[in-house]
Amino acid sequence: MLAGQDSRFPRLSHSQWENTVRDLFGLDEITGLSSNFVGDPVAGGFDNQGATFDVGATLWGDYQRAAEGVAQLIVSDPDRLAAIVPADAGQSMEDRAREFVTTFGRRVYRRPLSSAEADVYVSGFLGAGSDYSDLDDFQAGVHLTLQKMLQSPYFLYRVIDGEETEPGVIPLDGWQRASRLSYALWNTMPDEALFEAAASGALDTPEGMAAEAERMLEHPYARDMVDDFHRQLLKFDAYLDQYRNPDFFPDFDPNIGYAMQEEARRFIKDIVLDRDQGYTELLTSTRTFANDELAAVYGLETTLGDQFVEVELDPTQRAGLLTRSGFLMSRSYQVDPDPIHRGAFISFDLMCNIHPPIPDNISSPEPDPTKTNRERVNDHTGPGTCGSGCHTTLINPAGFAFENFDATGAWRTEDNGKPVDASATFTFDGEPRSFDDAVDFSQLMADSQQAHTCYSQHLLEYLHARKSRPADRDPLNKLGEMSVSGDRSIRGIIIDLVTSDDFINLHQEEGQ
C-alpha cells in the first residue's frame, strides 16, 4: 500500500484487536493474546496505518489460535457466556442461536449481518455439537461461532464495500463511519450509542459525526488516544534508557525518564482535553506537572513529594513542551546537550521542513575543552564545513535556542566557563526570524502558521491512519491558519479532521 492511499480493507492493529475483543465481551482488561501475534513492522509514520498491515501465513495461524483461545475463555465461564447470549427462555435451539448470531454478529462485523450470512452461521452453530466432547450443544455452537467470527475478514478488517459515486470516491455508510470514528478516537470498536447513531442515520451528516465525536472525546479512551498520538510524535520512548557520565552528573538517575514521560503525558492531556487549549499553549505554557525528581531538574525550591502536582515554571527560562525535561534530556549526549538532534527534530518533525539525504558515515567533532558545545558543533557542521548546507540554516539554529539547558534538561548560563549563547536566526513561514533564547524561539514557533500546519498534518496522519498526500495541503493550511489565530483548539482540530470529507468518504486513487 502506497503512502497516503486509502484502503477498502484497513486491518486492525494488534492493539485494536485487543481493545476490540475486550469491548466485544465486556472484559475488564485485554486478554493479552495478541502478544503472541507476529509483529507488524512499522516503516515511518504512526503505528496504526491499517492499510499497510497484511495477514501472512504466520499471522493467520496466530489469529486462528487466538480465536480458539477467546472462544474457550468465554464458553468456559458461565458469567461471560451469559453476557453475550440470549437467556434460555424455552425457545428452540435454532431460535436462540439465530438471536445470538444476529445480535452478537452485529457487534463483531460492526454492521448488521445479512440474512444469508446469519443462515450460514446458524447452520454451523446447530451442527457444531459433534465436534466437541466436553461441551453441550449450545455451548459448542457458541464456541464454533466465536471462532468463525473472530477469524472473519469482517472482524479483522474495517471492510468498506460500497460503490464508487465518482471515480475513486466511495462514500462510507453509517456503520463504516461509526467504525472509522471509533478506531480513530478510541482505538477500538464502536459502543452501543455509536451503533445506534449509525442505525438511525445520525452519522450521515458532518454535524451528526461531530456530535458523536464530541461525546467520544469525553470518554477515557480518548485520553488514551491523545496520549498515544503524542507519545509517537514526541518519541516518549526515547526518554528511557539514558546514560549520563557520572564524572559530570554524579546524581543522575537513569529511571528519571519515567517521571519525564509522566510529566509530558499530564501536561499534554491538561492542555488538550482538560482546558481545551490550542497548539500555541502547548508551545508556550509555563505550567507543568512535577514531583521531587523533576523539581530538581527545574530548580524548584519546594518539596513536592513523589506525586505529581501542578507547578509554574520560571517564565524567563521555560515555555512549552520544548523546554520540558523529557525533550531536552532525550536529545543530549552523556556530557553535553545535542543541539543537532534537538534542532533536527524541531525542523523536520515539528516544522515539517524537508531535508536532503543524510550522509551515512559522519566523523566525530574534535574534542576541545577550551570551546563551548556550540562552538564545537559549529566547527563540525557550521559555515565552511561539508555539512553547512543543511546545518547552518535548517538544523543548528533551532538546536542552539536550547543551549541554556544541559544534558539533563537543567538550566545553565555557562558552558565550559563561557557564557551560553542561545541566540540565532531560523526561518519561520519563509521568513528569517532572530531570537535570543528558548522562550523567544518557542513564541516564534507558536506564532508560525507553518508550525501549526505541521502539527495538524501529524494529527491527520494519526486520525486518518495514513500518510498525508498532496490533496491534504489546502485543508491543512486552513487548519494551521485557524490554529495559529486561536480559532481552533487542538480538540477543535480533531473534530474538524474526523468530520472532513476525506474522513467520511474513502478516496482510492489507483496507482497513486
Binding site: 516503516a43 504466520t58 499471522l59 486462528q64 489460535r65 457444531a128 543524510i358
Partner: protein, 463 residues
Amino acid sequence: MSAYSFNRRRFLRGIGGAVVALPMLESFMPRRAQAAEGSSRFFFAMRQANGVQCELGGEPERFWPSSTGPLTTDGMLAEDRAVSELADYASDLLLVRGTKFAFPGNGCGHSGGGNQCLTAARVSASPSGNESLAMGESVDNVIARQLNEPGVDPLTLYVGRKGGYINEVLSYRGSMELRGADENPWVVYERLFGLIGMDETVIQQIQNRRTSVNDLVHEEMSALLSSSALSSADRSRLELHRDAIRDLEIDLTCQLPPAEDVSAIEAMSAFCKDNDNVEVVARMQIDLAALAFACELTHAATLQIGDGNDGTEYTVGGQKLPNFHMVSHRIFAHGSEGDPIPGAEMMHHEIDRIHARMFKHMLDRLAEYSTSTGERLLDNTAALWTNDLADRYHSYNNIPQVLAGSCGGKLATGQYVDAGGVNHNKFFNTILNAMGCTKDDGSPIDDFGDESLEGGEISSMKA
C-alpha cells in the same frame, strides 16, 4: 467436501511437550533420526549487527584468518581469531571475504545495511533513514517460495528487545514488504508444534472445527476479492490472506523433546526480551529452527540477534559490557561524539566470539540431526553467520560472511576464499543454486537482488 480447492495436505508433525525445568535443553538433542528427506536442502542465516572487530583504524585483525586457503581445526585454533570458535567445524566452513553491499543507505547505515543484508536490493528513498526498507525480496523468501509447502512462510526469528529505532530488518516478501520477526521462542514452538499431547479424537475434532472455520473464511475472502474497484494493493493483501488459509493435519512422525525441556521455553516466555537472556533465547530459537528443519516444516529460517543497531549489553567474564552499538563505535554514544570506552576494541572482539558460539550451537544441532538417508542435516544445509555492516566504521565493504554446510556437496567447504570485492548478490546467487532453486524457466539463478547488478556466481564458493 471443502468449498474450495486449496491444499489440505499440510503436515504438521508433532507430539508431546509440556512444561518446565531449566537448565538448558540438552534433550533438544535428537534421540533418533528425524524425518527430513535426504534430498532436502535448508538455509539458515544468523545476523549479527554493528560490524566485527577486524584490522582497521590501527586495530589488529581478530576476526578473519591470516590467509585464504584451506581451513583446518589446528590452523584455526592456532590463530585465535573470532572464527576460531568454529574450529571444530573447519572442514564444514566456507569463509567468504570480499563481498559488499551495492547501494548506499538512505540516511542510516544500519537500516541500509539491514535492508540489503539478505536482499541485495536498493534501499527505499521514502521512507528513509532508520525507517527505510528494502526494495526487493529476501533470499529466505525465495527459498521458502520454491521449497516450502505452498503458503508456508520462512521461519523469521529474533532475539532481544525491539527498541523502536530499527527493529526487524531481514526478511522481505517483496519490495518494501518487511516480514515481522518473532522474539518469543514459546510462541514459535506453539506455532510450529501447537497441538501437542492430545489424543487422536480430540485432534480430529479440532481439525474438523478448523476446517469448518476455514471454509467460511475462505468463502468470505473470495467474495471480497471479487469486489469491483479493488486497488492493486488491496487485492495483493487480500490474496496473501486468502492463500494463507490452510488446514493442518497432525502427523506424529517427528519426535519432539519431552515435556520438561519444552517447559524451559515456556518459562522463558515472559523474560525473552530481557537483555540478560539474549544468549539463552538465541539458543532456544536455534534449537527450534534446527528442529523445524529436521521435521521439514520449513526450508528457510533467519535469526536476527538484537535490534537494528544491536543495543544489547553483553556479558563477558561476568562483566556486563556497555551497549554493543556504543562499543562498536568505541565511544559512549550512539552518534558521532562521545567519551571513549576503554577497552572497546577487545569488547567488540569478545562480542564477535559470543556470536560465533551462538552460530556454533546451530552447527552442533545440524550435525546431530540425521536425514532419512543417514547424513548429517548440516551436510544438506547452507548455514550463514552474516552481518549488516562490515566493521567498526560501519562500512558496507568486506561484509563478514561465514558459511557452514556444503548444501549437498555443492559448496566448497573447508576453505577461506576472497570473492574479490564483488557485490553480494553473487554470493546469494551461488547459495540459491546450491539450494536447488531456479528461475521460473528452470535455469540457474543469476539475477538475485536489484536488476541493475551484474549477475553471476562466486566461482570460488562452488565445489
